[in-house]
Symmetry: C4
Subunit: 212 residues, 4 copies
């Protein structure tokens, strides 16, 4: 129980912080944290809740099929399948899915390329990569309305205990070995997306004679 409560609290704190940034507009987004490996059980967002509020119904415990472990009136998030894929294929301990304006715009701008790459940004060290001029990329996949189809395509890009996928005009899913790592990676990606959008909006407009 103490372990369960610890995990609940960890996930709740992440949710509260992301909600304060308005990263769950329109009840969008969902989060999960693994509670046990054998059997696989994880806490996942209840469907359709306002994530600016903190309640005892924010999450529910689900099993390796994504079904509620105990009888409950709560429904797991419609996208529980994506979290399940992460826990099935990796040793990840936490998975975060958020819609932000910037990740949606990036996903549309670069969607036809199937990915966006960043190089030579210091914030890349947040991914545990310390080489100079290191390059990172995040895949951008099609947004299938059918969740099992989405989970199938998403699953192809899960290849480590930490990782991330952009779903076009939908949002980002980021996972890590624990809540701390998942949030760290999420913030780093969002920083890169915001950087790219702002840089694009001004990069052809620098006029040395005027501004420097």
């Amino acid at each position: 129980m103490s372990h369960f409560l610890k995990k609940w609290t960890e996930l709740s704190e992440v949710k509260e912080e992301l909600a304060s940034r308005d990263w769950f507009f329109g009840t969008s987004g969902n989060l999960s944290i693994k509670v046990s490996n054998t059997p696989l059980q994880f806490l996942v967002s209840s469907s359709g809740k306002d994530k600016r509020k903190i309640t005892s119904e924010d999450f529910l415990l689900v099993d390796e099929l994504g079904n509620a472990v105990e009888s409950t009136g709560l429904k797991p998030s419609a996208e529980t399948l994506l979290h399940l894929e992460v826990y099935r294929k990796t040793n990840a301990g936490c998975s975060l899915h958020v819609h932000t304006v910037d990740n949606n715009v990036i996903s549309e701008l670069y969607g036809d390329y199937g990915e966006i790459r960043f190089r030579g940004q210091e914030i890349i060290k947040a991914f545990g990569i310390w080489e100079e001029d290191a390059e990172v990329s995040i895949p951008i996949i099609r947004n299938h309305a059918d969740i099992p189809a989405l989970a199938d395509e998403f699953s192809q890009y899960i290849d480590g205990d930490a990782g991330a996928v952009l779903i076009r005009n939908h949002g980002i899913t980021v996972w890590g070995r624990n809540a701390f790592e998942a949030k760290k990676h999420l913030e780093a990606w969002e920083f890169l997306f915001s950087y790219q959008l702002k840089l694009l909006s001004v990069k052809n407009l620098v006029q040395p004679k005027i501004s420097i």
Copy 2:
């Protein structure tokens, strides 16, 4: 009384959250929540209050003519008529009207088209629409200074228990069956407006050789 207090609290919490986003600049905006159907009575913002403050004078109860139910020094919002139209024509339980920079800019950019449409955005599910590539649209109407004239034109676009109308260079009015739904729809619209503005500002500027 307990029911009244519950409704007051619901509306007050929505107001507090929207105020924290600075969506009521210059005392703009107003909110209402239905308290009873027969007779029709609803709580509506008092006119001209600073919505960052929480006081016992934030709302007052009005009747089916928009008049205060009890004798009071408070004046109902000048735009109470618009809320009234919503409750007269639908089973909506809550109506929110906010001025945001983004909804004002969108209303001006697309005002001549009379509407703005969005397609293929995941956040559209917030409106309860789950088909792939679903399309939503919001009408953009002229901003009559005369409130009865504005209410008349606004009224023509009220066709369901949940809905939304943009008033050009003025703001958005969103209604839903309850405060939860109204806020959910409001956030989804604002997300779409912000997405559209940011996408427009960079969409012709992507340079594959440099950034990808």
Copy 3:
């Protein structure tokens, strides 16, 4: 004393709210509130304080020459003269001066015109103007480093109990009959500036075939 405390609290609350929006970066900005007419005495920001903090040294009482009424180690804001001009020439009760990124950019963009005008925006009602298609303008003056010279030029644009002046690449000064009105006007101006900047950044980029 109770009246003094009431005025202090009013000003402190406005300061706290504006500080939470980061409108006082780098200890910039200053605020004042009138405490008495005869003799003229007003509370004004102490010079060089971090306005994110709330302390008993945030303001000091000054007289009709801008000098401290009581012996104190505190120095009135270097721009106290501008507040003084407002109280000398009008019945205003509060004056707010803030540097925001948006008001600075607007002041530079439109500085050569000496003003910026807005028409047909609903938020104009915050200035107490209710006609359809009403127009408002705010003068943009040169930023003299010499405060008496700045106060002189500023003074020429003080012509009512509520008003506002933009100082180029410096900030806005807004005054009103009380703290409530001054803040209301300030928010309305900042809304208009942000609207104008966002509209400019996208207005030539709407592509009906793609986005509508």
Copy 4:
């Protein structure tokens, strides 16, 4: 001990404020404050902490070589060397290093010029410069992955008790005689960066006939 606690609290308050602005995304950034001159000892961020949380492990005391003064499981920030350079060469009392989207974009836009200059901005007074049309500049240096190499290049630009350096696609380091001054300068630089980016994005788009 009381002196130590005072310094800890000062640094912790600055960290909390900067964290609330999301200036430490992905555990980036680090801060330090000098505790004693002889021997040189300063508190510096522990490596890899989430700076939105406030804990007793946020900082650790290091000596003139950047090593922990007491035995501890905590590791000083990987960039402690940069803080050390500041304290070795100047009488600065505090040094702040943050990654913001705007300072990263500015560093990329103007990186090839080796600096960015600002003139005639009121906020320049935050640097203690009061002349009309004063000009300030901040160097932009290459981001070496090797910290000693970065510290070496950084060190060449340390020439006063208060100052600042931009590291390309990395972030800003600002130092001052105390935490108050360092934060004041940091805010002023960030204001100027945001101003420049917003001005660039609209300066060629003003259409007098339409908007004025």
